[in-house]
């Protein structure tokens, strides 16, 4: 049974696209058929991070408007044959997305894939609400600073009211992915600590990705960070997060803090 994940945040620049690519590649590496869908119509970036920008012919909007068939628009990754990309259109805007069209495309993707990962645009308007509309699971990407946390809180409220699941009286499974975390700065008080963020948002934590130059390097060479260097600290964090998404229990570590020094950092979970 296919699972639809939305990667969302409200705020821009927190790492939604990076996380979509990294989680998508991590799930595909487990031999599960995965597609990453770019909902950021007009400001697409996922194709660059996936290194597929020179192979885009048709896009999501073409499929929605019936100008192309879904298999024509899907781009298979050159490194992993279980990983696919459905790019967004760069020449259109979010009004080109229709609720009916998105519903049709999502239904078709669910037939062919194990995981459908939707990369939401920033904001709370049409693009973002349509990206979350059909989600079973939401990954809320948050930076450890107050504006990002408040925007994430707003998005969680929308996930509980504007999604198809919420309208059926069901719930979207929500997970917090804390990105660009710097333990030293959090300790100095320049950044919110993990516990502060968890206390405010009160949703379970799925991973802590450290601030790292590896992320930028991976984007520049057009590879998801989990494929570019699977030994790097951010890659390890994303690989663990992907395992947790599939239901495995993996002990949580805070990057930059010495392992085992504090017993409480293992199995950290919020209500």
């Amino acid at each position: 049974m296919a699972k639809v994940i939305v990667v969302t945040s409200g705020k821009g620049g927190v790492g939604k696209t990076t996380s979509t690519a990294a989680l998508g590649a991590a799930l595909a590496q487990r031999n599960e058929k995965t597609v990453v869908v770019d909902f950021d119509v007009g400001l697409r970036n996922l194709d660059l991070v996936m290194g597929a920008e020179r192979r885009v012919v048709y896009d999501l909007v073409n499929v929605i408007q019936g100008d192309a068939k879904l298999p024509q628009a899907l781009i298979r990754d050159k490194r992993l044959d279980t990983l696919f990309l459905l790019p967004a259109s760069q020449t259109r805007d979010k009004d080109a997305l229709t609720p009916e069209g998105v519903e049709r495309v999502m239904a078709e993707l669910k037939k062919h894939f194990d995981w459908v990962i939707c990369d939401s645009p920033a904001g709370i308007e049409r693009g973002a609400t349509l990206a979350m509309r059909h989600a079973d699971i939401a990954v809320i990407v948050t930076n450890p600073e107050v504006s990002s946390v408040r925007d994430s809180d707003r998005i969680i409220g929308l996930l509980d009211s504007k999604t198809e699941r919420a309208e059926r009286g069901d719930r979207v499974e929500k997970h917090l992915l804390l990105t660009r975390y710097d333990a030293a700065r959090a300790e100095r008080g320049d950044m919110l600590k993990v516990d502060d963020v968890l206390e405010i948002l009160s949703i379970p934590l799925i991973g802590i990705v450290p601030e790292s130059t590896d992320v930028l390097r991976a984007s520049n060479i057009g590879a998801p960070v989990t494929l570019a260097d699977s030994r790097s600290a951010p890659a390890l964090a994303y690989l663990d997060a992907a395992r947790r998404l599939t239901g495995e229990t993996v002990p949580m570590t805070i990057p930059g803090e010495k392992r085992g020094l504090f017993g409480k950092i293992f199995g950290r979970r919020a209500a």
Partner: protein, 249 residues
């Protein structure tokens, strides 16, 4: 010139409900106006001193017709305080404002021929309307309980009574209660208690980090709050025109 902005007295803003008469014109408008004249002849002063709202949701009307209708009603001494159910394009400056969010109330009895064609009928109606209102407010004392966090951007509005939240109220969220507000968690957003004019309403929270607090229209922003209350379990109430606070143990 510098203005002194340090006056600590705050401006009081209150909510109040009135029972408005709602007129729903039916086409053809000429015929409807004639029937209105007929009603007025039976009971002079029926609309006098009463708030009247014009409901145009069910009729096809353009701006010129609406303007004309308001003028016609004005000639009959019926002054419209607001228009309900109109498209934004219907309005122009100088017209009564658009109204939204009205709650239905029982039909107001229109004086009939049998009830007597004098002003006494109007008096009777007024007498009948008042106990009805009191009955409503007596029945309305109630409360709601919210069992999950109130997220940024969400607002809980409950003029009928108390609001209890089992969880936190996020920065950018608001709770507006006719009665008291109880937060079993951290209050980071806004809490407005006694919003329909209830000075005995209180605010309780397990941890105070609020952006704004108000009781019966008297408000305090985060800036005006005593710093030693931050992060504490606190209750707030009103004494005269000032909000008092005390730590809960």
């Amino acid at each position: 010139m510098t203005k002194v902005l340090t006056d600590t007295r705050s401006i009081r803003i209150k909510g109040r409900s009135f029972l408005a008469l709602v007129l729903s014109p039916e086409p053809p408008l000429d015929g409807w106006l004639a029937r209105l004249d007929d009603l007025a002849s039976r009971s002079a002063g029926f609309f006098l001193g009463r708030p009247v709202v014009l409901d145009v949701a069910d009729i096809e009307i353009d701006r010129a017709q609406l303007k004309n209708l308001i003028d016609e009603l004005g000639k009959r001494n019926v002054r419209i305080m607001g228009i309900e159910g109109g498209r934004p394009s219907l309005f122009e400056p100088g017209m009564p404002p658009a109204m939204r969010g009205g709650r239905p109330a029982p039909d107001v009895e229109v004086p009939t021929l049998e009830a007597g064609a004098d002003a006494k009928a109007a008096g009777n109606n007024e007498a009948a309307a008042v106990p009805q209102l009191e009955q409503q407010s007596a029945r309305a004392i109630s409360s709601i309980v919210i069992r999950e966090p109130v997220r940024s951007g969400q607002s809980v509005i409950f003029p009928e009574g108390d609001v209890t939240v089992i969880g936190s109220v996020a920065s950018g969220a608001e709770i507006i209660a006719g009665g008291s507000v109880h937060i079993y968690g951290t209050l980071r957003g806004r809490a407005l208690a006694g919003s329909v004019g209830n000075s005995s309403a209180r605010i309780f929270c397990r941890r105070l980090e609020a952006e704004l607090l108000a009781i019966d229209g008297v408000y305090k922003t985060a800036e005006d709050m005593a710093p030693n209350l931050r992060g504490q379990a606190v209750q707030l109430w009103l004494e005269g025109d000032s909000i008092m606070a005390e730590r809960l143990n």
